[in-house]
């Protein structure tokens, strides 16, 4: 168990700077998820923590120890890889014992830890099998078992669910979360899947191009994204963005329709007629379908319907913006239908179109 702190971290690959200047504090026993699109530097950051990548500036602390230049083996961390990286020629038991043998642990201790970990992960039945005789989900668990037996200060997960099918991914996601609650160790989990981030994290770190965009609890990131990137990245389907202008007490959309300003946080800070380009961000689930002719709301024409069972996604175009609303399946909408959409009060966000930053 240990806290992690990264200070003024710089990482370059040759001429290319992938992490320009990064600070991050992860308290002891926290489950942190690094999330961002491909190439945002999240995996590099994890590999820096692991000691698999060197840094070009700054400081990496694990607990009280400065680990710049400390080899991976001496950092007391464990890592679960995307492709599991199990030793294919060793049995599950040998895979789990390998690190302990290298540390010089005695046989009885190794056996005790393997038994304990295999009970925790329910892999006791195939300790003598080789990885190729296991399913993807079983390999995943063995990879975690290999990490657990070492009783490390920090667990690192590098997109460990991306090789699993959707159903299994949900199951393993829950398993990892349950495990994290049981063993309460600092965990850093990298993913590009915002659902994994939302469901598992104590705190989420959203990254883009090597720069941390926002750090916060899942609900914080979801409800109060600091910029359009975070707002668009977290949440599925993604938040809709409509260009608007301020007109009196209202926000005017490209189509001429208006949304009452009092329903939108941050509206009070705006003044009418200013040049500033403003974007109204509304999540699909915060648009209520009111049915045709209810007067209130913004009228739209349904382009496409995606029934999900519990909800229905309707695609529509407002001005030149393609958008999505998540509405009740009871509305029984079909392409071509007209419907009025009402933004849920207090849920929409305003952004500065130029900087992308949220207007609080």
């Amino acid at each position: 168990m240990a806290s992690i702190s990264l200070r003024k971290l710089v990482k370059k690959f040759g001429e290319l700077t992938v992490i320009p200047d990064l600070d991050l504090e992860i308290p002891d026993r926290e489950f942190v998820v690094l999330v961002g699109p491909s190439g945002c530097g999240k995996s590099t950051l994890l590999r820096i923590l692991a000691g698999l990548e060197t840094i070009d500036g700054g400081e990496v602390m694990i607990g009280e120890e400065r680990v710049n230049g400390v080899p991976a083996a001496k950092r007391d961390i464990a890592m679960v890889f995307q492709d599991y990286a199990l030793y294919p020629h060793m049995t599950v038991r040998q895979n789990m014992a390998f690190a302990l043998e290298n540390k010089g642990a005695d046989k009885a201790e190794i056996e005790r830890r393997i038994t304990e970990a295999s009970r925790l992960l329910d892999i006791g039945d195939y300790l003598d099998r080789r990885p190729k005789a296991l399913s993807g989900g079983q390999r995943q668990r063995v990879a975690m078992g290999r990490a657990i037996v070492r009783d490390p200060k920090v667990f690192l997960f590098d997109e460990p669910l991306s090789n699993l099918d959707a159903k299994l991914r949900a199951a393993v996601r829950a398993e990892i979360k349950a495990l994290a609650q049981k063993i309460r160790t600092t965990m850093v989990f990298v993913t590009h899947d915002q659902i994994e981030a939302m469901t598992m994290a104590d705190r989420i770190v959203v990254m883009k191009a090597g720069v941390i965009q926002q750090v916060g609890k899942p609900e914080e990131i979801y409800e109060r994204p600091v910029n359009m990137f975070v707002a668009g990245f977290i949440g599925s389907p993604a938040m809709n963005f409509f260009p608007v202008t301020v007109e009196g007490d209202d926000l005017r959309l490209q189509t001429g329709d208006t949304v009452p300003g009092h329903a939108v946080p941050g509206f009070a800070t705006l003044s009418a007629g200013q040049d500033r380009q403003i974007v109204l961000g509304i999540r699909p689930e915060h648009l209520d379908g009111a049915g045709e002719g209810k007067g209130e709301g913004v009228p739209i024409t349904v382009d496409l319907v995606e029934p999900l069972g519990s909800d229905t996604l309707i695609h529509f175009t407002l001005g030149d913006v393609a958008a999505i609303a998540r509405v009740s399946p009871d509305l029984r909408l079909a392409p071509g239908d007209r419907v009025s959409l009402v933004p849920a009060p207090g849920k929409a966000r305003l952004f500065d179109a130029e900087s992308g930053k949220a207007i609080q």
């Binding site: 692991a50 000691g51 698999l52 080899p71 991976a72 083996a73 001496k74 961390i77 464990a78 890592m79 890889f81 995307q82 492709d83 990286a85 199990l86 030793y87 294919p88 020629h89 390998f98 690190a99 290298n102 540390k103 080789r130 190729k132 290999r146 070492r150």
Partner: protein, 289 residues
Amino acid sequence: MEKKNEARLELASLSLPAMIYTIAMIGFPFIYTIWMSFHATTAAQQLVFNGLGNYSHLVSDGEFWHGLVVTFYLYFLSLALQLFFGTYLALLLFRSKRLPGIVRSLFISPFLIPGVVTGMMWLVILDPSLGAANYVLTSLGLPASDWLASPTWVVPTIAIIDTWQWAPYVALIVLGGLQSLPPSVYEAAEIDGASRRKVLFRITLPLLLPTIMTATILRSVDLLRFFDLIYITTQGGPANASDTLNIYGFRVGFEFFQFGYASALMVTLSVIVLGAVLILNQLRNAVAW
């Protein structure tokens, strides 16, 4: 139904040239050799059927057993040397990624040289009075030797020459295996605190075993049928110290003109090669991961 027949006809016509080639170039000589092995050659060079006569002669033929021993001695010695140095060379080449391509190519070029040329080249190198080998040895204060004329040293010497030529081939195969090993496994080993030595012996070499077995199979087929290099350098001598089964069979056929018996020897050798390949194949499956 008609369409199916048409497709079959097309398939047959397309594969016919290959089938004719296989039958004419492989099947016929092979079956003819088996047929000959049941015949004796008369003084008038006539083939007469004598059943299993050649095979029963073979069992009591001291030269055959001697050939078998020499064949396996040379086989195991060469194979061990070639696997060891081939794997070693592959690991070196894999580590030295900065080495220019041309140098890497030079390292692995010996097996491109025809066996006859290799033999001639080494005859010069090993020449007892003019050769470079003895010059180097005597410069180092070691005794000179006529390597290919010594009944004790002739087989190891041939094994070394063959290793010079074929270890790079093994290296090429093993290098391919090394390049396809999963990098994340090495990172896992790094995190697991494995020393370089442990990584080599517990991770790299076990993971390379299937590749090394493939190289073993390919080299086994050649080594059990060892011929050209011996024929150029010693012709089976001195006395019959390097007389492998293949060389012995050649002499029986083309020096003594006993084609029937020579055929029986070659059929036996073929069975040995086939058996070795089958066994090694099983072993390769056993070490696959």
